[in-house]
């Protein structure tokens, strides 16, 4: 008696070895895909969207690449997910985490083919990951107390992060900018407060950090172009026609004169509102919503600068920098906190006019203006800078740092290797495999730079045999060098997240012994 189908028609089921192979292959394919972007000499990818316009993105950022892929393999989806989480949590290391997870699975595959049970491999990986973390913890450098040194640490981290991106030419310039921006946040991790404005034209080197705040808006016609000692009211209110919000209200009249009267009343109402706003004693009014011509004219008459349609983040940031509160009612002028700044002026960047607020009261936010040859360059520059900012803001909170350039991987690999030697039983194979997977990262970095990876990694391993060695791969000169001297640093938090989530993902995929794919949901509209 043949077994009836248990599943629906289009569903499929893969068991045992085949399931494991399918997930290994899927995960490794994804890892190999992003592998070539790893390291300072990693290559970029062009992504073309299938949507309208076939817009093109050029990027080096692992999370961005993986996010745009359409993947069907469930195991590959797990890797995409960890890269996304890495991006959200620490911002950098999105490629490393996928590559490490891929390498762990590649090693696991070899072990599985030599008849070691996945559960044994998982047990080994767990021990190894714990040991690797300990090894890193032992070697961290923490310069929190020493402000000057801490700043230089941050500079180095920023430079290390940026050197694999498009900004590597001007990495010092950008690192300086990123560190400055993050220091202004004073420990908060809310990167929303840092505004990045992209303006095509000029070169990347022309990008700058502005202490004040730049709003990408134009000043209304006939209004002052420059205000000193500005008092700013930040508002979120309707400045078109103030709608009656009571439900069901409507205007019903029986003659033209009545219409005119009501129109007049409406105008009067707006005038009142403007008067009330002016009653705050301000000379600058920024609104989130539209400002119609009529109130704008009233503001111009009063010599007040009115800026309309500033988006929500803009408003929030402006509130942050100027110390004003976001107001929606204007009946109690005495209790509304106004924002202050020394100077508001219109500035030109490239061809566009922007409004510049300088000398602000509370410097928690700032703007970074990026210049560059094309939109693609600017987009990529923004992503790179974002990575750097993320890492820095996380490092400000957790100030432990490590050396970079494959140094942490070698340190971990060495400790893990030693653990493997001490461990009895089949687990030791898995622990050894873990150390091999770790070494694969410096190997990839060297390979991507077109260096002789076998030679370099062997040298590195020999160097690391000595206690307290600082050797890593210096991709620029193509040799093994002292990472501390060359100032290549990485944040501990990033490395730890890479290690733990890669192990977690590998463990998850290893535990699977069956894949069941449901029948895809039928979409009627496709017919």
């Amino acid at each position: 008696m043949p077994i009836d189908k248990i599943f629906k028609d289009d569903a499929s089921e893969e068991k045992g070895e085949r399931a494991r192979m399918a997930s290994f292959i899927g995960a490794m394919a994804v890892a190999d895909l992003v592998k070539s972007t790893l390291g300072p000499k990693g290559m970029d990818k062009i992504l073309q969207s299938t949507g309208r316009g076939h817009s093109v993105t050029v990027t080096n950022d692992g999370a961005t690449i993986l996010k745009s892929l359409h993947i069907d393999n469930p195991a590959a989806k797990v890797l995409v997910d960890i890269s996304k989480v890495q991006d959200d949590e620490v911002g950098d290391g999105t490629t490393s985490v996928v590559v490490l997870a891929g390498e762990l699975l590649r090693e696991a595959e070899k072990l599985v083919t030599s008849k070691i049970h996945p559960m044994t491999i998982i047990a080994g990986y767990r021990m190894a990951a714990e040991c690797a973390r300990e090894a890193l913890l032992k070697r961290v450098i923490d310069n929190k107390e020493n402000a000057e040194k801490f700043r230089s640490d941050l500079m180095k981290i920023a430079m290390t992060t940026l050197c694999s991106k498009i900004l590597s030419q001007d990495k010092e310039h950008f690192a300086e900018m990123a560190v400055d921006a993050v220091f202004r946040l004073k420990g908060s991790t809310n990167l929303e407060a840092i505004q990045i404005i992209k303006k095509p034209g000029g070169s990347l080197r022309d990008s700058f950090l502005d202490e004040g705040f730049i709003l990408d808006k134009k000043i209304g016609i006939g209004q002052p172009k420059r205000i000193e000692n500005a008092k700013i009211l930040v508002a979120n209110t309707a400045m078109d026609t103030d709608k009656v919000k009571i439900y069901g209200a409507r205007v019903r009249v029986d003659s033209m004169t009545k219409v005119a009267e009501i129109e007049g009343a409406e105008k009067e109402k707006m005038k009142d509102k403007v008067k009330k706003i002016l009653g705050h004693g301000i000379n600058c009014f920024v609104n989130r919503q539209l400002i119609y011509n009529f109130p704008e004219e009233l503001f111009a008459d009063a010599g007040v600068l009115a800026i309309e349609h500033a988006d929500f983040e803009g408003i929030e940031r402006l509130g942050l920098v100027t110390g004003g509160e976001i107001a929606s009612t204007f009946d109690n002028p005495e209790s509304v906190k106004l924002g202050h700044c020394k100077l508001i002026e219109e500035i030109m960047i490239g061809e566009d006019k922007l409004i510049h607020f300088s000398g602000v009261a509370m410097g928690q936010a700032c703007s970074i203006v990026l210049r560059g040859a094309s939109h693609h360059v600017l987009d990529e520059a923004e992503r790179s800078l974002h990575d750097a900012l993320c890492v820095l803001s996380q490092t400000v909170n957790d100030s432990r740092v490590l050396l970079g350039g494959g140094w942490p991987e070698m340190v971990m690999a060495k400790e893990v290797d030693e653990l493997a030697r001490k461990t009895a039983g089949k687990k030791s194979h898995a622990i050894e495999a873990f150390s091999r997977a770790l070494v694969a990262i410096p190997t990839t970095i060297a390979d991507n730079a077109g260096l002789d990876s076998a030679e370099l990694v062997a040298q590195l391993r020999a160097e690391h045999h000595n206690e307290g060695c600082n050797a890593g791969i210096d991709v620029i000169s193509g040799a093994v060098g002292d990472m501390e001297e060359r100032g290549i640093y990485e944040a501990f938090k990033v490395k730890q997240a890479v290690l733990l989530s890669a192990t977690e993902a590998a463990e998850m995929i290893l535990r699977v012994d069956e894949i069941i794919t449901c029948a895809p949901r039928r979409r009627e509209d496709r017919m």
Partner: protein, 593 residues
């Protein structure tokens, strides 16, 4: 017209020539009619009487009916049919196939399944109920098995894999009995007797567990047994402690009841599994409505509202006509006054935090901010209820009904941000009535969080069951082996064919420890027989399978416990479903849809 399937199993329809219409006349017509009538009667014949068999019907939408009632059968009947022993064999095969999928997930060394849903979403899990639910099965019997595991999940919460494996083993044994020529009804009856023996025996070997609020170690140990089969077993100790503390916090020890609705399980991607924490309060995935409101409130008096900070919207249809300037003006004034009053009302009763189910108007938002009254908007109904329970407040549907007594109280409300994105959550802690708690899970990726949520749910259920009933049995297959021995011994006392079925039941019980041993990489038959003889020799029901390679078979030493009701329920449910499947002798499925 005929329905056929191509090589991929997809149905397509063949239209035949319609011209050859036949006609039957005279005696031929009568004979044909009589034959049809007889055929129908024959279908129902086997359903007659107290020992009549059931029919299984699959409707046009795949819904399954199992019945013995003639009218229902005939009404739904058409299309393909499987009869008699064929039907039984096919059903058993399907049931076994489902059990086989789950078999490798059993026990601490069980493997996970990766499931890809119809929309391409990926779930990785070890939980039997979840696997079956997401598998989206089409077979009628497979659906019964899914139901089985679901009812175990609802009733007990744990052991969802075990129950299916058990049912599969029972079916396998039943097949053998059928081959011997034993009538399925006799097998079913034998199983019924055996299950009664097993459940009674479990009661006998169970042990009472003494614990109280201060000494909850035994509870933690039991929860750890549950968690050890999941991917979270890396930090099972801490998770088990969290689960037990959570259950104890909301438990009503007097009434021996736990309302698990009071435990909220929230997950946020990021961080480590080790960062998972128990919050004696509520966690709301929302932030303050105005960015400049204070982020931390001590000693908060919370107004919990279900009315929006917006002008009222009466339910009855109405129109406010504006036809004069005066009306326009008054309406405007009224509107302003309305906002003002709403905010003032909250302020007057002494609220320092407003939690609202609906949105705020911009103006109201600013007024709130202006009066230094932090507010949270768009809070879901369930969360609102939990907040009300935790803070001892009342949910207020109208501003007019706001009074100081109705405010909830919390020692600390704070906003916390995560990671590099703008994600914030609101912690409401040190509540007046700490009867509602939140378990906040962190983890490397989405699938991990989901799986952790399921595991925590299992652990919570176990802890709850222990509070309801303090009895435990020993895990690691020890209870099954003990039952198997008892059932085997009891078999000889029954005269008649049922004896064989009872013995078969005993064998089926062995399959759970066997699967455990298999998944742990041990020799299944060797290990099982060794443990069995050990139990028999020393007459101690604590010996089980040493899944973790600790070196002892004594489950007392390994601290592997399961709840008594969980185990009993497993055996009862599995027996019930198997009996049902055995009673079916006809599968009528409507395949044309």
């Amino acid at each position: 017209m005929a329905l056929a399937f191509d090589e991929f199993g997809r149905p397509f329809i063949i239209l035949r020539e319609q011209d050859q219409k036949t006609r039957l006349r005279g005696i031929d017509a009568q004979k044909a009619n009589i034959a049809a009538g007889k055929a129908v009667a024959r279908i129902l014949r086997s359903s007659l009487g107290p020992k009549g068999m059931d029919k299984m019907l699959q409707g046009p939408d795949g819904d399954v009916t199992i019945t013995n009632d003639g009218a229902t059968i005939l009404e739904q009947m058409d299309k393909t049919r499987l009869r008699g022993i064929d039907a039984q064999k096919a059903n058993i095969a399907a049931g076994k196939a489902v059990a086989r999928i789950l078999r490798s997930s059993l026990g601490p060394k069980g493997m996970d399944k990766m499931l890809q849903g119809p929309d391409g979403d990926v779930t990785i899990t070890n939980d039997g109920a979840t696997i079956l639910e997401q598998m989206d099965v089409d077979n009628q019997i497979a659906k019964l098995m899914v139901e089985l595991s679901r009812s175990q999940d609802y009733e007990i919460g744990d052991g969802t894999t075990g129950v299916v494996v058990m049912a599969g083993a029972l079916l396998e044994q039943a097949e053998r009995q059928l081959d011997r020529g034993i009538h399925p009804i006799r097998v079913a009856e034998g199983y019924e007797m055996a299950s009664r023996v097993a459940v009674e025996h479990l009661e006998r070997i169970s042990q009472k567990f003494e614990f109280d609020v201060n000494n909850y170690e035994p509870l933690v140990q039991t929860c750890m047994t549950t968690l050890s089969s999941k991917i979270v077993n890396r930090c099972k100790r801490s998770l088990a402690e969290i689960a037990v503390k959570a259950v104890l916090a909301v438990a009503d020890l007097e009434r021996r009841d736990v309302n698990l609705d009071l435990i909220k399980v929230e997950g946020k991607v990021g961080g480590n599994l080790e960062d998972t924490e128990l919050i004696y309060g509520i966690l709301v995935d929302k932030d303050m409505s105005h960015p400049q409101m204070p982020k931390q409130i001590e000693d908060a008096h919370i107004a919990i509202l279900t009315c929006p900070f917006e002008p009222p919207k009466p339910k009855t249809k109405h129109k406010v006509d504006i036809d004069t300037v005066e009306k326009f003006e008054t309406l405007r004034k009224q509107e302003q006054q309305y906002f003002d009053e709403m905010v003032q009302k909250c302020k007057d009763v002494g609220a320092t935090l407003v939690i609202c189910q609906w949105g705020f108007d911009d103006e109201a938002n600013h007024l709130l901010m202006h009066r230094n009254l932090p507010a949270v908007r768009w809070v879901g109904g369930v969360e609102l209820e939990l907040i009300a329970i935790a803070t001892g407040g009342r949910i207020v549907p109208r501003f007019q009904e706001l009074t100081p007594e109705k405010l909830g109280k919390a020692g600390m409300v704070r906003e916390k941000s995560f990671g590099t994105t703008k994600e914030r959550m609101l912690y409401i802690e040190h509540c007046a009535n700490s009867k509602a708690v939140t378990i906040f899970i962190r983890g490397g990726n989405k699938m991990m969080i989901e799986e952790t949520k399921r595991s925590i749910h299992d652990a919570l259920c176990v802890a709850r069951n222990l509070i309801r009933n303090k009895s435990i049995v020993y895990g690691g297959g020890a209870a099954e082996i003990a039952c198997s021995l008892a059932v085997d011994a009891a078999a000889d006392k029954y005269p008649g064919v049922e004896q064989y079925a009872i013995r078969a039941f005993a064998e089926a019980l062995d399959s759970v420890p066997m699967a455990l041993a298999e998944n742990s990489g041990l020799q299944p038959i060797e290990t099982l027989s060794a443990v069995k003889s050990q139990q028999l020799k020393e007459n101690i029901p604590f010996y089980g399978i040493d899944c973790n390679d600790v070196g002892t078979n004594d489950m007392r030493e390994q601290n592997v416990f399961e709840t008594l009701i969980g185990k009993q329920q497993q055996i009862l449910l599995a027996t019930q479903v198997v009996k049902m499947i055995l009673k079916i002798d006809d599968v009528i499925s409507n395949s044309e849809y």
